[in-house]
C-alpha cells in the first residue's frame, strides 16, 4: 500500500494522468468504504488525539461557566483577550473554504474542484470553533440569546448600533450558508456512497442524506442551478463576514482599532490564513489517502500563490497602519504604534508576526519552494502562528495601552486561556477526522466532470 502510494508521480496538472470515473471513485471512496476494522491505525491515533483535546475543551468550558470569566487573564484595560483573538483567528481560517468553493467556481477556476470539498468542511468546522468563542467570552454566557432579536415580554430588543450584534448576524449567516452549500455539493457523492457501500447502516445513513438522488438529467440540471445560486450567495460573504468582524474594532474609538483600512485588511488576512490552513490539511491528506493524482502539485502551487498575494496585501496593511499613525498627527495613534513595535511588554509579538507574515512567505516567489510540499507545510504553519499573533497584537496589545497612562496594564494569559485555545483544536480535529473517515473529502462528481474534460490531455501532452 505504502509502496504503491509512493509510486504516484507528482504532476502539475489539475488532475493526474489516466484518471477515469472508476479510478476517481476508487481512490476517494476506498477509505470510506473499508470496514471499521480495516481503518488504518494512524486514523485511530489521530482521532484519539483530537478527541482528547476535545475533552480538554469541554473541561475548560465547564470550569469557565462554573467559576467565571476571571479564570482567564482578561482585566481592565485588556477586557478582551484570548477568546476574541481565537474567534477572529478561527473565523479567518474559515474564509478559504468559501473563497475556493464559491468565488473560484464563479470565476471558472477548475483547479478549485479537488480541494473545495475539504476546504468547505474546514470552513464549517472552523466556524463552529469560532462561533462558540463569542458566547463563551461573555460574562454571563447563559444569556447570550439576548443578542438575538426575538419577541419577549420584557419588551427588550438588541441594540443594533453595536457591531457585536452585526457579528451575530454575520456569523450565523455565514455558518448556515456554508453548511447548505457544502451539503448540496455532497448530495451526488452521498448517492454514490449509498450505492457502493455494503454496510447496512451505511446504506440507510447515506440513503437518507442523499435525499433520493437518482442521477437523472433533471436532478443534475437542478443541482447545477442550485449550486451556482448558492455560490453566488456565498461569494459576498467572503467579503462581508470578516469585514463585519473588523467593524468590532473599526467602529470603536480605541487608537489602533479605529482604522478605516480594517475591513479589506481583515479579509486579506483571513484568506491568507485560510489558504495556509488548506495547505496544512491538504498536504498530509493527499499523502495519507494517496490522492496525489487528484490534489496535484498544481493545487499546491496555486494555493501558495494566493497565500503570497494575500500575504503581501496584509503586509501592505501593516505599512499603512504605521503610516497612518504618523500621518494622523495624534499622539495616541503614534504611541500605539510605538508601543506595538518597541513597547517593553509586547515588542516581541509584533516582530514575531512580521517575521511570520511578511518574511516567511518570501520564499514562495520561487517555484521550487512552491513545488515542495514539505516547505509549503512549514511555511503554512508559520503563517498560521503569525496570523494568531497579529490578532493578539491588534486585540490585546492595543488595549493594554490606551488613552490614560494611569490605566495602562498588562495582559498575561492563564492556563485556562491556553486550555480553551488548545482544546478548540480538539473540536476541529475531531470533526475533521470524522469527516475524512465518513465523507468523501474530494468532490467525486465534480472530479468526474473534470476527468471528462481532461480525458484527452494525455494525448495532447504526447503531441506537444
Amino acid at each position: 500500500m505504502a509502496d504503491s502510494r509512493n509510486r504516484i508521480a507528482e504532476t502539475d496538472r489539475v488532475i493526474g494522468p489516466g484518471q477515469t470515473y472508476t479510478t476517481i471513485d476508487d481512490t476517494v471512496n476506498k477509505p470510506i468504504l473499508t470496514s471499521i476494522l480495516g481503518t488504518p491505525i494512524w486514523w485511530f491515533i489521530a482521532f484519539a488525539f483530537g478527541f482528547l483535546l476535545l475533552m480538554l475543551y469541554l473541561y475548560s468550558v465547564v470550569y469557565l461557566i462554573a467559576v467565571g470569566t476571571g479564570v482567564w487573564g482578561n482585566n481592565v484595560p485588556a477586557a478582551w483577550g484570548f477568546p476574541i483573538i481565537n474567534f477572529v483567528w478561527w473565523i479567518g481560517i474559515g474564509h478559504a473554504g468559501t473563497l475556493i468553493s464559491a468565488a473560484l467556481l464563479l470565476f471558472r477556476q477548475e483547479w478549485r474542484t479537488s480541494i473545495n470539498r475539504f476546504a468547505e468542511a474546514m470552513t464549517l468546522f472552523a466556524v463552529v470553533c469560532a462561533g462558540l468563542y463569542p458566547i463563551l467570552h461573555l460574562g454571563r454566557p447563559w444569556v447570550f440569546y439576548w443578542l438575538v432579536p426575538y419577541p419577549n415580554t420584557y419588551g427588550l430588543f438588541p441594540q443594533f448600533r453595536s457591531p457585536l450584534d452585526w457579528d451575530l448576524f454575520a456569523i450565523s449567516t455565514y455558518a448556515s450558508v456554508s453548511l447548505l452549500f457544502w451539503f448540496i455539493g455532497l448530495i451526488p457523492d452521498l448517492a454514490t456512497l449509498r450505492d457502493r457501500t455494503e454496510n447496512k447502516f451505511g446504506k440507510i445513513a447515506y440513503g437518507i442524506a442523499s435525499l433520493g438522488w437518482r442521477g437523472s438529467a433533471k436532478h443534475w440540471q437542478r443541482y447545477q442551478r442550485a449550486y451556482l445560486l448558492l455560490a453566488a450567495l456565498s461569494f459576498p460573504l467572503v467579503l462581508s463576514v470578516h469585514s463585519t468582524i473588523s467593524l468590532d474594532f473599526a467602529t470603536s474609538q480605541v487608537p489602533g482599532w479605529n482604522n478605516t483600512i480594517m475591513p479589506p485588511y481583515f479579509v486579506a488576512g483571513a484568506v491568507f490564513a485560510g489558504f495556509a490552513m488548506v495547505l496544512i490539511l491538504a498536504i498530509p491528506l493527499r499523502k495519507a489517502f494517496g490522492l496525489e493524482n487528484l490534489i496535484t502539485m498544481r493545487h499546491l502551487d496555486n494555493s501558495a500563490k494566493v497565500m503570497l498575494a494575500t500575504g503581501l496585501i496584509v503586509v501592505y496593511g501593516y505599512v499603512i497602519e504605521v503610516f497612518i499613525a504618523w500621518y494622523s498627527g495624534t499622539v495616541y495613534e503614534q504611541y500605539m504604534i510605538f508601543n506595538r513595535m518597541f513597547g517593553e511588554d509586547y515588542w516581541w509579538a509584533f516582530w514575531a508576526l512580521i517575521f511570520c507574515n511578511a518574511v516567511a512567505i518570501q520564499p514562495l516567489w520561487s517555484k521550487r519552494v512552491r513545488n515542495s510540499p514539505l516547505a509549503l507545510f512549514i511555511i503554512s504553519m508559520i503563517v498560521s502562528v503569525g496570523m494568531w499573533l497579529e490578532r493578539f497584537v491588534i486585540v490585546t496589545v492595543t488595549l493594554t495601552r490606551e488613552y490614560l497612562p494611569s490605566s495602562w496594564g498588562v495582559f498575561t494569559a492563564t492556563r485556562w486561556d491556553w486550555a480553551l485555545y488548545i482544546g478548540s483544536f480538539g473540536l476541529f480535529l475531531t470533526l475533521w477526522f470524522m469527516f475524512i473517515r465518513f465523507l468523501p473529502s474530494i468532490a467525486t462528481s465534480e472530479m468526474k466532470e473534470l476527468a471528462h474534460i481532461h480525458e484527452n490531455d494525455d494525448a495532447k501532452e504526447v503531441t506537444t
Binding site: 478582551w80 460574562g139 454571563r140 444569556v143 453595536s162 474609538q253 490614560l404 494611569s406
Partner: protein, 1000 residues
C-alpha cells in the same frame, strides 16, 4: 491507630464547657446537640461532612481570595459556636407598634464619634433598620466638619468582621465574663493596695475612662498606669517641654496662614486634626478666578506625603537634613541655636527665598513640625512661630488633650523593667496590641509570659491576646457607650447603634470590673460621669450633646505661654551615619489595627499605589546604588534585628533613606490580614522609634510579587490629561490661560444635541485642592457596596473601585512634582460605551446620567474597551458577597449587589439623586442645589468635589464650571464629559518661579 482514626474518635463530652458556652451567649442560643454546643472535634468533623461549604473556611490552605470571599461563610459556623445578634436565621416580624417617625426603608442618622489613635472624629452613622451601614462626617464636629477619612469610613466594615473575637478566653480555653470577673477580684484581693497591678492603655482622651482610672488608682494606690501607643507623640511633648517647660498641645489655624513651612509634617495626611486642617488649608488654595489668592506651602520631608504633594516648594531631605534646615533657618531668623552648614540638598537660593517669604509674612506665616521629628525641630518650630508673631494668629497652644500625657516610650520601658524585676502580678491591657507593636529591643512578647495574670481587652484574638492569660472581646465604637475628645479638646459622647455582636465589653466595663463592679454598664458609667459634669442641666444638655455628637463649648481654650530662654540651646547636633531607616504609619492600615479590614488593605497607597503589602521604599538613586529593583527581596538589618522585605522604588524620596511602613506582617490579625507584608516593628527600637542610621541592606536574590493598582508614569505632557500652571501664569491670562486650553478643539456632530429639559447632573473636581487622601475611594466603596477582590486579583488589574485617584509625576525622578487626579465615570453626554453594547445594558437617562442596567448586562466588556477613561469595572468572578452573613449586613440596601459577569461603574450615586427626587416631589418643588451630595463629595475634606444640576444657572457646579481653569479630559474625542476638572495651580515664590512653569 493512625492519626486519621484518632481524629474520628468521639471525644468525651465536656458538660462544663457546654454550660459555660450557654452562659457566655446572650439572648437565645440555638443548638442542635450537646456536641455542637461543646464544639467538639467530633462535631467539627460532622460539620465538615455535612456542610462542606460552611466548613470550608476552617481549611487553612484556602488561597487569599477565597479567604476574603469565605469571610462571611465562616459566620454561619461562628453562629453555631456563639450566638450572634441579629441572627440571619431568625424569623422576623414587623413592628406591632412601630417607633414614632420610623419609616421602613428610610435610613436614620445618629451622631457619634469614632476614635483613632485615641482622638475622636465625629461621624453620622447611617442606620438601616437598626443596622449601621455607612459613616459620614459630622459637620458639627470640629475634627470632621462634615468630612471623613478613609480609615474612619472603613471602621464600619470592622464592625461586621467575622474574625472578631467572640468570647472571653482563659489561656485559650473558652470562658465567660462572670468567671473572668471573679478571677480578677480574687487576684486583686491578693495584692497589697494594688501593688503589682499595672494598667496599660493607648492614648486616653476619654474623660469617663480617665476619671475611672483615677478612681481606680485611688482605690489601689500601689497600682500603676502605663501608656503605649506605637504612633505616640513623645517628640511633640518633648519639643513642647523644651520650648515651654511644660506639655502643651499645638493647634494650627491654617485659615490665617499665607506662608506655611512644614518640617517633615504631614498635617493633611495624618494626625487627629487632619480633616479640619485640610478643610482650612484648602479653603486658602481654592482658586476660581484670577483675583483669588493662594497660600504658599514649603515642605521638607524624607518621603512623599500627602502634604508634601501639595507643596509649592518641596525638598526631599534626609531626616537629619530636615533638622539641619530647621536649625539654619532658626539661626537665620536670629534665634540662638547651634547651627551647622546648610544641608547639601538645600540650595542657598531656596533657603533665602524661604527665609524671605517667612519674614515677609509675620503674623500670617506658620511653621509646622512633624510628629516624628526630634524634639529640637519642634522647639525650633515653636520658637520660629513666636519670633514671626504667629502665636495667636496661625497657631495657638492649649492644655494637652491626652489625659496626663507621659512619654509612651518611657512608660512602656518602665513597665518592661518592672516585669523583668518580677514586680508585676497583674497586667491589664485595655486595647492596643503591645506584643506586636512594642519596640523590638524590649522583648515584650517574652516578658508578658512572666506576668502571672495578664488581661487583654481587644477586638481580635491578636498576638497579645494569644500570650495573655485572659482575653476579653472588646466592643466596637458602634456597639458601646463611651466618650472621647477631638484634637482640639472638644468632647463627644459615643453612642452605640447596635447591641454588641459578640458579647464584647468596653474599656469602661473592664475598669469598672477592676474596681469591683463587674455588672456596671458603659451607659451608666458614661452617663454618670457627665451627670456630674453637667450638674443640674444634665437632663437638657445630655440629650443635646448626644444628638449633636459634640458637647457644646468643650473645646480647650488657647493659653498664653512664654518661650524658655534657653529653649534651643540645650540640644546638640547628633550625627546620623549611613543608610537611614524611617518608620511611618501605613496610610491605610495605620499601626496595624486595620490589618483585617479588606477595604483598607485594598486601598491603594496614595503614592506607591500598593495594596495588600508594605515595602522597603527607597529613591531610584538609592536603589540603583544598592543594585536592587522593584520586588527584589532584601534583608534589612538594623540594630541587631533583621527582616526580609520587598523593595519598591518611590520617586521623590530622599536618597539614602529607606521608609518602612508599620502595621504589616501580622500573625494573628485574622484571615484577611495575616501574613501580608513585613513587620517593620521587628526593627524598631525604643531609643529611636522614628529614624535611625546604620541600616544594612542586602539583597537575597529572591523576588516577591507586589500588587500595585497603577504603573508609575511620568506625566505625558502631550496628552493634556493633567493640566497645571502657576498662579502667575493664570493672572497673566485671567480669561483664557494657555495651560488650560493648550489645543483648540472644535466639536462636530452630525446629529443635533439632546435637550436636557429637567435636571442635568454634572460634577467638577478641583485638582488644585485634592490632596489624594483616598477619602472618596472608601466612602464610595461603603456607599456603593463595592467588593474587594484580593491581592492576586489586584495584581492582574481587576480592582473594583468606582473612583480612583490617579497619581502622576512631573519633573525629574529625583525631585518630582505630584499630581492627584480622582477619576470616576465622566457620565459623557456622548458616551462611547453606549453604542457598542449589543443589548443596551448601558444607556443614557433623561437627566444625562450614563446608567448601567446590571440585569441586562451579558458581559461583552466592549463598553470597557471603548471607554477612554477606563472607569468601568467588571465582575470577572463572584466578588460580592451573595450569601446572607455578617458581612452582607454592611451593604447599603439602596444599591444593588452585583453578581459575576456584569459590568459596573460610578452612578453619580443615583440612589441619592432618587432619594432627593422623592423628598422634593413630596414637597412639590424642584431638588435644591446642594441637596444631592455624592458619597465622594461628602467625604472629601478638601471640598474638591462639586456636584449638582448644570441646568440650574445658580448652582455651585455651574459657577465652578465657569472658572477659566475648568477643562474636560479627552474632550477631543467628543465624549462631552459631565465631570470636568479645575487645573492644578502652584504658587511658587517669585525668586524660584522658573522651576515650575505650567504644562498640561
Amino acid at each position: 491507630m493512625n492519626p486519621q482514626d484518632k481524629d474520628l474518635t468521639p471525644q468525651p463530652l465536656d458538660l462544663g464547657a457546654v454550660r459555660k458556652r450557654l452562659e457566655g451567649s446572650q439572648g437565645k442560643a440555638y443548638w442542635r446537640s450537646l456536641d455542637e454546643l461543646a464544639d467538639t472535634e467530633a462535631f467539627q468533623e460532622f460539620m465538615h461532612k455535612e456542610f462542606p461549604r460552611q466548613a470550608a473556611p476552617l481549611a487553612s490552605n484556602v488561597n487569599r481570595r477565597d479567604f476574603v470571599k469565605l469571610l462571611g461563610a465562616s459566620l454561619a459556623l461562628a453562629g453555631l459556636t456563639s450566638c450572634i445578634r441579629p441572627n440571619p436565621q431568625e424569623q422576623y416580624t414587623s413592628y406591632v407598634r412601630a417607633p414614632e417617625y420610623y419609616l421602613p426603608g428610610v435610613p436614620q442618622f445618629y451622631a457619634t464619634a469614632m476614635s483613632l489613635g485615641g482622638y475622636g472624629v465625629g461621624v453620622l452613622a447611617e442606620s438601616h433598620a437598626g443596622r449601621p451601614t455607612k459613616l459620614e462626617g459630622n459637620a458639627d464636629h470640629p475634627a470632621s466638619l462634615g468630612a471623613i477619612d478613609p480609615l474612619v469610613s472603613a471602621t464600619v466594615l470592622s464592625l461586621y468582621d467575622p474574625d472578631r473575637s467572640q468570647v472571653v478566653t482563659n489561656r485559650g480555653e473558652l470562658s465567660d465574663w462572670g468567671s473572668f470577673a471573679s478571677a480578677l477580684s480574687d487576684t486583686l484581693s491578693g495584692l497589697d493596695g494594688g501593688a503589682g497591678l499595672r494598667i496599660l492603655t493607648e492614648t486616653v482622651t476619654s474623660p469617663t475612662l480617665a476619671s475611672q482610672i483615677d478612681a481606680l488608682l485611688e482605690q489601689y494606690p500601689n497600682a500603676r498606669w502605663h501608656r503605649y501607643d506605637p504612633l505616640h507623640r513623645d517628640n511633640v511633648l518633648a519639643g513642647a517641654e523644651l520650648a515651654f517647660g511644660e506639655a502643651v498641645d499645638t493647634r494650627y489655624q491654617f485659615e490665617n496662614a499665607d506662608v506655611i513651612l512644614s518640617l517633615g509634617s504631614d498635617f493633611l495626611g495624618i494626625g487627629p486634626g487632619k480633616l479640619a486642617y485640610t478643610k482650612a488649608f484648602s479653603a486658602r488654595r481654592r482658586v476660581r478666578t484670577a483675583e483669588d489668592s493662594m497660600n504658599r506651602l514649603w515642605t521638607a520631608e524624607a518621603a512623599p506625603s500627602i502634604t508634601g504633594s501639595m507643596a509649592d516648594h518641596r525638598l526631599a531631605l534626609r531626616p537629619d537634613e530636615i533638622e539641619g534646615l530647621a536649625r539654619s533657618l532658626a539661626a537665620r531668623l536670629g534665634l540662638s541655636v547651634e547651627a551647622g552648614d546648610l544641608p547639601d540638598h538645600v540650595s542657598q537660593e531656596w533657603f533665602d527665598a524661604l527665609a524671605e517669604d517667612l519674614e515677609a509674612h509675620r503674623g500670617s506665616s506658620l511653621v509646622v513640625a512633624g510628629n516624628d521629628q526630634p524634639a529640637i525641630v519642634h522647639a525650633v518650630a515653636h520658637a520660629l512661630n513666636a519670633e514671626l508673631g504667629n502665636v495667636g494668629e496661625t497657631v495657638v497652644y492649649t492644655d494637652p488633650v491626652e489625659v496626663d500625657p507621659v512619654s509612651h516610650s518611657e512608660s512602656l520601658a518602665a513597665l518592661v523593667d518592672d516585669i523583668s524585676a518580677g514586680e508585676v502580678e497583674a497586667l491589664v491591657m485595655l486595647g492596643g496590641n503591645p506584643v506586636y507593636t512594642a519596640p523590638a529591643d524590649l522583648s515584650f512578647a517574652n516578658l508578658l509570659s512572666r506576668v502571672p495574670v495578664s488581661v487583654h481587652l481587644s477586638p481580635y484574638q491578636d498576638e497579645t491576646s494569644l500570650r495573655s492569660t485572659w482575653h476579653v472581646p472588646q466592643t466596637h465604637d458602634l456597639e458601646a457607650w463611651s466618650d472621647v475628645r477631638a484634637f482640639d479638646g472638644s468632647a463627644s459622647i459615643v453612642q452605640p447603634l447596635i447591641a454588641p455582636f459578640y458579647n464584647g465589653k468596653s474599656a469602661h466595663e473592664v475598669v469598672a470590673a477592676l474596681a469591683g463592679d463587674a455588672e456596671a454598664s458603659s451607659y451608666d458609667l458614661v452617663r454618670g460621669y457627665w451627670r456630674e459634669q453637667f450638674g443640674s442641666d444634665f437632663n437638657s444638655v445630655w440629650p443635646q450633646s448626644v444628638h449633636d455628637g459634640v458637647v457644646a463649648e468643650s473645646r480647650f481654650a488657647p493659653r498664653q505661654l512664654s518661650l524658655r530662654e534657653d529653649a534651643l540651646s540645650d540640644a546638640p547636633i547628633e550625627a546620623t551615619e549611613g543608610l537611614q531607616i524611617v518608620f511611618q504609619a501605613e496610610p491605610s492600615i495605620y499601626d496595624g489595627r486595620f490589618s483585617n479590614n479588606g477595604w483598607l488593605q485594598e486601598l491603594p497607597n496614595p503614592f506607591t499605589k500598593l495594596t495588600w503589602d508594605n515595602a522597603a521604599l527607597m529613591s531610584a538613586a538609592t536603589a540603583e546604588r544598592l543594585g536592587v529593583r522593584n520586588q527584589d527581596v532584601v534583608t534589612l538589618n538594623y540594630e541587631g534585628n533583621s527582616v526580609e522585605a520587598p523593595v519598591w522604588i518611590q520617586p521623590g524620596q530622599a536618597d539614602n533613606v529607606v521608609v518602612a511602613h508599620l502595621g504589616y506582617g501580622r500573625e494573628a490579625a485574622g484571615r484577611v490580614g495575616n501574613g501580608q507584608g513585613f513587620n517593620a516593628y521587628a526593627l524598631r527600637t525604643s531609643a529611636r522609634p522614628w529614624v535611625g542610621g546604620g541600616l544594612e541592606l542586602t539583597p537575597t536574590g529572591a523576588t516577591y510579587p507586589l500588587s500595585s493598582t497603577q504603573m508609575h508614569h511620568a506625566l505625558e505632557e502631550e496628552r493634556h490629561i493633567v493640566r497645571h500652571g502657576t498662579l502667575e501664569e493664570f493672572r497673566a491670562h485671567p480669561d483664557h490661560p494657555e495651560f488650560v486650553h493648550p489645543v483648540e478643539h472644535h466639536e462636530y456632530d452630525l446629529y443635533p444635541d439632546y435637550a436636557y429639559e429637567s435636571y442635568a447632573w454634572g460634577m467638577v473636581i478641583d485638582m488644585n485642592v485634592c490632596t489624594g487622601c483616598n477619602a472618596c475611594v472608601t466612602a464610595c466603596q461603603s456607599e456603593n457596596n463595592i467588593p474587594i477582590v484580593g491581592k492576586e486579583q489586584v495584581a492582574i488589574g481587576r480592582e473594583m473601585h468606582w473612583i480612583r485617584v490617579d497619581a502622576y509625576y512631573g519633573g525629574s525622578v529625583d525631585d518630582p512634582e505630584f499630581y492627584h487626579q480622582p477619576i470616576a465615570c465622566m457620565h459623557c453626554e456622548k458616551a462611547p460605551c453606549e453604542p457598542v453594547c449589543p443589548v443596551g445594558a448601558t444607556v443614557h437617562d433623561h437627566e444625562g446620567l450614563n446608567v448601567m442596567v446590571y440585569n441586562r448586562c451579558v458581559g461583552t466588556r466592549y463598553c470597557s474597551n471603548n471607554c477612554p477613561y477606563k472607569v468601568r469595572r467588571f465582575n470577572f468572578l463572584q466578588y460580592a458577597e451573595l450569601e446572607e452573613n455578617a458581612l452582607s449586613m454592611v451593604q447599603n440596601p439602596d444599591v444593588t449587589v452585583r453578581s459575576r459577569g456584569v459590568m459596573e461603574k460610578c452612578t453619580y450615586c443615583v440612589q441619592r439623586i432618587s432619594k432627593a427626587r422623592v423628598t422634593a416631589g413630596n414637597q412639590n418643588r424642584r431638588i435644591l442645589d446642594g441637596e444631592v451630595v455624592t458619597a465622594c463629595q461628602a467625604a472629601c475634606p478638601a471640598e474638591a468635589i462639586v456636584f449638582g444640576d448644570i441646568n440650574d444657572s445658580g448652582s455651585e457646579v455651574v459657577q465652578t464650571k465657569a472658572s477659566p481653569l475648568n477643562y474636560g479630559i479627552l474632550t477631543e474625542l467628543n465624549t462631552v464629559p459631565r465631570t470636568s476638572y479645575l487645573s492644578k495651580l502652584r504658587n511658587p515664590h517669585p525668586a524660584l518661579a522658573s522651576a515650575s512653569e505650567g504644562g498640561h
